[in-house]
């Protein structure tokens, strides 16, 4: 907690920032043949696993607001990957569903998690779980925000 903590903590953030961009680039390369971006792929993963979902629930799961999701889903709709329809019960809610084309992609893209697994270079499942745990805790703490009084 003493002296050089400062530099190290900036390094935590910077190495996070670098690692995420490297990961996104790996996904970009992997997904290029299907004209998919990483956030678009994440939407498909959620829809494949959970079925159709309102926009705000997708937003809760991916931690993205409508300002990000609305145009992203519009692009996915244009590529015939998702369909939107108003829920009849509550006319404010737009439900997003994977299309038949998206469902077909599920098999085609089944190799991706394994490829990414190798790309992480993590030695085993335990190491992966530990990293996930550390990152999730960091996310929670960060999201609680900058404590009052700086």
């Amino acid at each position: 907690m003493i002296m050089n903590m400062s530099v190290v903590d900036e390094m935590v953030c910077f190495s996070l920032y670098s690692a995420t961009r490297a990961t996104t680039r790996a996904y970009t390369e992997l997904l290029a043949p299907w004209d998919l971006t990483y956030p678009q792929y994440l939407v498909l993963v959620v829809l494949w696993r959970e079925g159709e979902k309102p926009v705000h629930e997708l937003g809760d799961m991916l931690q993205l607001d409508s300002g990000t999701l609305s145009p992203l889903l519009r692009r996915m709709e244009a590529k015939d990957l998702v369909a939107r329809h108003r829920a009849s019960k509550d006319q404010r809610i737009v439900t997003i569903a994977a299309t038949a084309r998206a469902d077909a992609l599920r098999e085609e893209l089944g190799h991706i998690p394994g490829v990414i697994a190798r790309c992480t270079g993590l030695p085993d499942l335990a190491a992966a779980r530990e990293l996930i745990s550390t990152l999730q805790q960091l996310t929670t703490t960060m999201r609680n925000g900058v404590p009052a009084g700086n």
Copy 2:
């Protein structure tokens, strides 16, 4: 390395992605009073520590290309945070230097690393170093790219 590895590995990437966005938001909030973004702050940190630098060396350090840095530095120049001048020796090279105003900010922003330190929620220096090490290794492996044959 067996069964559910796939799901876990997607979780590694997603937790990275979430953690980075949470961190960037924390920086955004912290830096708002100075009208600075996180990448702009990173440029200042490099210039403070290393003195003036050509654009491509900034790019090497931050892993950003000229397509990102050129407009970013233009915005920083407009805010009187950096100055650009052509190196006389090699006329292709534009050297970026912190302005007096940027140097003055160095003290004013001195509290930030400590605040971020607390926001990470990491228990001690050892935990921070371990996370940095894991992330740097992951970045290197990721950047080596998707191995041939998928």
